[in-house]
Symmetry: C2
Subunit: 382 residues, 2 copies
């Protein structure tokens, strides 16, 4: 029996994507890689809502691109606002502080969406603020922040708006240019259905001005080097070529299927999962859950770690647990990547079964949650 | 007709390695990735000549690991010695300077090996020097530096010895622990026969002391985070999982074949190629060439760029050109990765043919260079 991966990155890969990885190696200084790089940048631009010539691609995980954003747009002692709605918001704060910025933190309880009014006040009170950092989707809590509103607000100040869209890209709508986002970050292994190992960043003109004046030391993640290289359809350092083969294929797949249909599919899967969770009498962590990750509270008395282990080992479904302060207290069920109805139903049923076998939890009617989701899937376009 | 890749990274991959990339995705927090990470660290330890628990693995190119070495072992204002024998020596200097070190440069003409006596003098004159940076093989020139002697010398001082073995690993002998190298760096896409995207680093105890006291800002490349994680058989950030599948396979292949046999094979291929170059009346750049890359001077009057283009487009062999000041002036012919006799012979013959067709060069007897190499291969264990 094959394991079903319902984790918020890495996600399952379409077969064509996996097979593309097995292609013979090519050299990164030559016409074939130049074309590949161009196609991939175009695909990423499509998903991000920006033009391909703005896209820089790093051979690094998403955190590498987050660091790249910080060291490229900031200078020593810059005052910044960090919108912290969970584990990855906390990472923005850590990164900014490590690289010498002065951080004003807008911190929210896990599961809460950032309040745009707080940002409005913070920007008004700190007109010298250079940048605002936020998450589009906070992977640790399943919360979606209203980055569209935040971007509009920030665009009226001197600060630039930096968005970690690692979990959002390919899962929920992102219109970087239209929404006036200055820096947008993504990575390969979530909604983009490729293996981990590549991350991306695009800058607005306003952000490039900051890059020009940034005095923080950098080399491997120096955006200017990537911009110079991409003009020649190259990367400054040897890129993860096989992962480029994969993401080129997955972006083709996304373009053919259309982003609109993929987002609609994710939404239906999330809707069905939430309805099932409700039938089981479980509680969601976020008040306004997003359509890419459903974060479920482990019910009182149940050992979260043991529950996930059972679901994995007995029912061959891999779900993610909680991070940081929520270790052992969350079940994170993803709706991103190459996941369909059947996989999601198997995931729900595995959760039902494992809960039923837990002496500290009572499943009233085994299978009912799964059936509830199935009905929603049938009515939706998944 | 398939293109033969005779470039010093990326190199051709064994079929089993390519196919391993197509495996279904797994999650990086779980028993299967833990085992994979452990196996890969063991294989890298075998090739580096160190113990697996010392090996840290980054999702980044070789330059990422070079930067990691600098930001982890140095502190602001540290005095260091950089042994610069080419393009990658110059990169050490750049990296050290960008991150605030004071650099004493031992610079050599391209093609020259570093003189260990210069290092001896520099260490004596600068007892406060914190670290020495060098290349094992200088990929841009095909020169092998005597890192064994340099390490011995440096170990008698207060400085630590940092070696970029990116091009050497799996191509020529490396005994990190025995030779008393403090920091050794490698990456996946050269002698290790895997796709680009992963790089590694191992530290001696002496180097870890420096890491403990380093005050340079870092996050994505913070060695302490990787050490903590690897103790739990994890990586701190999402790793390039498919590339782990590949390198696990290629390290198995290397272990089975034995490193000794692979190094012997490389040596014979290099020997044959050098003999062929001699027959053609061409000149090598390095005085003491290494067995992983043969760097050949483009003969007077011949357009190096056009020559390589012809070899690629007409004869389907990809060779590398010169870098920096040697752009257009070098042909770099690699003997690393999954390259055998026949590929090398095809490469030599392509070079003969392209030169014969060049009106500014005379090939006395077409095929003689290839035949010369063939004879050497027959007598050797390739």
């Amino acid at each position: 029996m094959e394991r079903i991966l319902l984790t918020p990155g890495p996600t399952p890969l379409p077969e064509t994507v996996r097979k593309a990885m097995a292609r013979k190696m090519i050299h990164h200084r030559g016409a074939d890689f130049a074309e590949l790089l161009h196609n991939v940048a175009e695909g990423i631009g499509y998903v991000m809502g920006t033009s391909p010539e703005k896209v820089l691609i790093f051979t690094a995980s998403g955190t590498g691109a987050m660091e790249a954003a910080v060291v490229n747009v900031l200078s020593k002692g810059d005052k910044v606002i960090v919108v912290n709605t969970g584990n990855f918001g906390a990472r923005w704060k850590q990164l900014c502080e490590i690289f010498g910025a002065e951080v004003i933190e807008l911190k929210y309880d896990w599961g809460c969406q950032a309040d745009v009014k707080d940002l409005e006040i913070a920007l008004r009170e700190n007109p010298e603020c250079k940048a605002v950092f936020a998450q589009h989707l906070e992977t640790s809590t399943g919360v979606e922040n209203d980055v569209k509103k935040m971007a509009k607000l920030t665009s009226q100040s001197d600060a630039i708006f930096v968005v970690d869209a690692v979990s959002g890209l390919g899962c929920v709508e992102m219109k970087m240019d239209e929404w006036k986002i200055d820096v947008c970050i993504g990575s390969s292994q979530k909604g983009l259905m490729a293996p981990p190992g590549l991350s991306f960043m695009a800058f607005s003109d306003r952000a490039w001005e900051r890059v020009e004046n940034s005095d923080l030391p950098k080399f491997y993640l120096d955006a200017k080097k990537y911009r110079e290289s991409i003009a020649n359809r190259q990367t400054p350092f040897t890129p993860a070529i096989s992962t480029f083969f994969a993401i080129n294929e997955s972006l083709e797949y996304i373009k053919k299927k259309t982003l609109k249909k993929i987002l609609a599919k994710n939404a239906v899967l999330a809707q069905g999962t939430r309805a099932a969770i409700d039938v089981l009498g479980l509680e969601l962590l976020p008040k306004k859950p997003c359509d890419a990750i459903t974060a479920i509270k482990v019910p009182e008395g149940v050992d979260g770690k043991a529950l996930l282990k059972k679901i994995e080992e007995t029912y061959n479904v891999k779900l993610a647990g909680g991070q940081s302060e929520y270790k052992g207290k969350l079940i994170r069920f993803a709706h991103m990547g190459d996941i369909g109805r059947e996989d999601t139903l198997k995931g729900i049923y595995a959760l039902e079964k494992a809960l039923q076998e837990d002496k500290n939890f009572r499943v009233k009617e085994l299978g009912k949650a799964t059936e509830t989701a199935r009905k929603i899937f049938k009515s939706g376009d998944s």
